[in-house]
């Protein structure tokens, strides 16, 4: 006898934040099935894409996913950025490509509530789209250019400071090391160089004195945390600050900014969104939104993001704090 699945979780066994969601779903007695991309070969999985049904067997126990599925928590890859590693053997290449497509195939369960839908995630991961939609919903946006043309900045005076960053997450591998691109504040003459032609990059007006804010939206619920280093505002990319120096006190957003955050998430077709804002010169500037952003580091008893996500997956809305 197969157990009917109400909530399908597509994740990684190293996505520990998903543990928190599963714990909440378990407490609520919800019928859920968590499939981790690393462990899929240990399962017996059969998808009928037309019915549609997904049958899963593990150690003699059976589950069935069908049109009664209520929701999907999508925590696996949407973009494949890991394209630089040529050392993968054939079996690994096969498994990566085919399991990835198999998981995307769960989109046949179109009647379920997706958090977030892969197609929406794909679009929302595109920084240019984010900036455009954020402006449409009323956010202030730093003046931005995405360009590979050093001549485009010829009118900038030498010494003009800019915020320089990649067009997309920059995560590269070389041998046993990885390279990660952070936002860097520097002078335009260090950016508008000949080799800029090799690849486009993002050049923005800098926010030199700013307070970093992380806004997490789940359905109608919203939380905002300041990101401080040793209690102070952080110059440049806060991710370069040692973690033991970071604190995340609550920040109360003006109602109008909250409305813009919710509107942005909705306009991008998302349910969940991790939004980075910067408070500078009395204005809330939109930096970016991450539809697959981490939130476990913000979890606390009085701010249970996990419980709210579990509530959304159960299709019951929980009001925020």
């Amino acid at each position: 006898m197969a157990e009917a699945v109400d909530v399908l979780i597509l994740s990684s066994d190293l996505d520990f934040a998903t543990d928190r969601v599963c714990r909440e779903l378990g407490r609520r007695g919800s019928s859920f099935l968590r499939l981790n991309r690393e462990s899929l070969p240990a399962l017996s999985l059969t998808l009928d894409p037309v019915a549609p049904t997904l049958r899963c067997n593990f150690e003699g126990r059976n589950w069935i996913v069908d049109n009664s599925l209520q929701s999907v928590w999508w925590r696996v890859g949407t973009f494949d950025r890991d394209i630089s590693d040529r050392t993968l053997d054939l079996q690994t290449q096969l498994q990566r490509s085919q399991w990835s497509a198999f998981l995307r195939s769960m989109m046949v369960f179109a009647g379920a509530k997706w958090i977030n839908h892969p197609a929406a995630t794909y679009e929302a991961e595109t920084k240019a789209v984010q900036l455009s939609v954020a402006r449409e919903v009323g956010f202030d946006i730093p003046q931005t250019a995405m360009s590979n043309d050093p001549v485009a900045f010829i009118d900038f005076k030498p010494g003009t400071r800019v915020a320089f960053k990649s067009i997309d997450t920059l995560l590269l591998r070389e041998g046993d090391t990885q390279l990660f691109g952070y936002t860097t504040l520097l002078e335009i003459e260090h950016v508008a160089v000949h080799d800029l032609r090799l690849s486009p990059a993002t050049i923005q007006a800098p926010l030199e004195t700013k307070l970093d804010l992380r806004v997490t939206v789940v359905g109608d619920a919203i939380w905002c945390a300041e990101v401080r280093g040793r209690g102070e505002q952080i110059e440049g990319d806060w991710r370069l600050t040692p973690k033991d120096e970071l604190t995340y006190p609550e920040h109360v957003l003006p109602p109008g900014i909250e409305r813009r955050c919710r509107a942005l998430v909705a306009r991008l077709g998302l349910v969940f969104g991790a939004i980075d804002l910067a408070l500078a010169n009395g204005r809330y500037w939109f930096i970016e939104i991450n539809p697959t952003g981490e939130w476990g580091w913000l979890e606390r008893p009085e701010w249970s993001i996990a419980a709210t996500i579990a509530g959304e997956l159960e299709c019951r809305s929980i009001s925020s704090h």
Binding site: F16, F164, T169, W297
Partner: protein, 63 residues
């Protein structure tokens, strides 16, 4: 060299380091268990993120 490459921060890859030690994963409950029960119940034991990029504390952005 492109300025994005010149400015990128280089760190050693150590993916295995993020795996919980002395814990096992239970498929049915979707939870890692340690000696004291689900790691999800003990914030000190459960890493807050995947931390594939050990420096940023963020994930691989949907990877």
């Amino acid at each position: 060299m492109h300025p994005l490459l010149a400015l990128a921060r280089r760190t050693p890859i150590n993916e295995r380091a993020v795996r919980p030690t002395e814990a096992t994963y239970d498929f049915v409950s979707g939870l890692w268990y340690g000696k004291g029960g689900p790691l999800a119940d003990n914030p000190d034991e459960l890493p807050s993120t995947k931390k594939f990029d050990v420096e940023t504390g963020e994930d691989q952005k949907g990877q």
